[in-house]
């Protein structure tokens, strides 16, 4: 019965969506051509080689701040729901020698890769969110290999808070300097250089540290809970 009604509902929704897609005129209708304008102006306005970054941090920087807030609220809510494990709670035993050594060996390389992706976010595909996810994985793999040495939640919250404040602080500096919150600062520089695009790499660094600390803390909390 549930299967049949579910099937009918899904087919109905599918037909509706097909009609919606059919009525879209293909190419450039939903964003109204803003995309082409941004593609033309972004190199002069912001100076990033990766135009997605300039949309994310310069044109819609406020939305990214909102996104960081959503992530922060979710991480806080997970901490609130799961709570702290009791100090005498039983922990999983450490993994074998191979996994522990591999985790230790992998750690510096993942940190370097994460930092590279964050710092080149304005030049190549990648940026704060992607690099932050790799940083979080770098800190989470050792926890999986040896659960007896858990993540220090105080440090991760401190990094997260400082990175979030840095993002807002750069935005406020732009507000006093240029009159717009999160406006790009420090000029554009030469497109394609590592030190270009003004304050955007700094913003991406803040985003990356915040996302990394937040995701690592979130994963560690999910891992620490006893079922």
């Amino acid at each position: 019965m549930t299967l049949l009604s579910g099937l009918i509902f899904t087919i109905g929704l599918g037909l509706l969506l097909i009609v919606v897609i059919k009525s879209l005129i293909f190419e450039q209708v939903l964003t109204g051509g803003i995309g082409s304008i941004i593609l033309e102006q972004a190199p002069n306005d912001v100076g990033t080689a990766n135009i997605v970054s300039s949309v994310l941090l310069a044109y819609r920087g406020l939305d990214t701040l909102g996104e960081l807030t959503v992530l922060f609220v979710a991480a806080t809510a997970v901490g609130l729901v799961l709570g702290q494990p009791r100090p005498d709670a039983p922990r999983d035993p450490d993994a074998g020698f191979i996994l522990r050594s591999a985790a230790d060996l992998l750690f510096p390389f993942m940190i370097i890769l994460g930092a590279y992706i964050i710092l080149h976010g304005h030049l190549t595909p990648g940026g704060g969110f992607q690099g932050g996810a790799i940083l979080a994985a770098a800190f989470f793999i050792p926890i999986l290999a040896s659960p007896s040495s858990p993540l220090n939640h105080k440090v991760s919250s401190l990094v997260e808070g400082l990175a979030g404040s840095a993002f807002i602080l750069i935005g406020l500096l732009a507000l006093f300097d240029k009159g717009y919150f999160l406006a790009p600062l420090l000029g554009t520089g030469e497109v394609g250089e590592l030190f270009s695009a003004g304050s955007l790499p700094l913003l991406y660094l803040a985003v990356g540290l915040k996302v990394g600390a937040e995701l690592a803390g979130l994963l560690a909390r999910l891992h620490e809970t006893e079922v």
């Binding site: 509902f9 899904t10 995309g35 997605v52 949309v55 990214t64 996104e67 799961l82 595909p125």
Partner: protein
């Protein structure tokens, strides 16, 4: 032009298929983890749909490379999807945290059993697994 239409057809039907599969899984499953998996499929479908909206024939990724003058795809949907993926991860983590709490409290993740257990505890009447406001006689 004929070639482009083919690309559009396949990519839109892929996105549509993922969305419908996700909705179907969410509607028919009784296990909470499966419902969350359905939600993840749905998210993937919507993200793919947004990416396809920005597609242009014979265009490259919106990254400036010296000596490259080809047309670029629309960067706005890509920035939107980046946001959507991160929010999706946050939502999934929160959902899983709540699932852990539910399992600790009731020892089951079957929605029908959960509804019955909750209804028994709160003293409401149960019809086909759906608790109603009516009090038990």
């Amino acid at each position: 032009m004929e070639e482009t239409a083919g690309i559009y057809f396949f990519s839109y039907s892929g996105a549509l298929g993922l969305i419908l599969l996700g909705v179907f899984a969410m509607v028919t499953s009784r296990h909470i983890i499966r419902i969350i998996l359905g939600l993840m499929l749905l998210e993937a479908g919507v993200n793919l749909f947004l990416i396809i909206i920005g597609y242009r024939a014979n265009a490259i990724a919106p990254i400036i490379v010296e000596g490259q003058n080809a047309a670029m795809v629309d960067p706005i949907p890509q920035a939107l999807v980046l946001t959507a993926i991160v929010i999706g991860v946050a939502v999934q983590a929160l959902a899983l945290a709540l699932v852990i709490k539910t399992y600790k409290a009731y020892g089951t993740l079957d929605t029908k059993e959960l509804a019955q257990r909750i209804a028994e505890e709160s003293g409401t009447h149960v019809i086909d697994g759906i608790p109603t406001e009516e009090k038990q006689v």
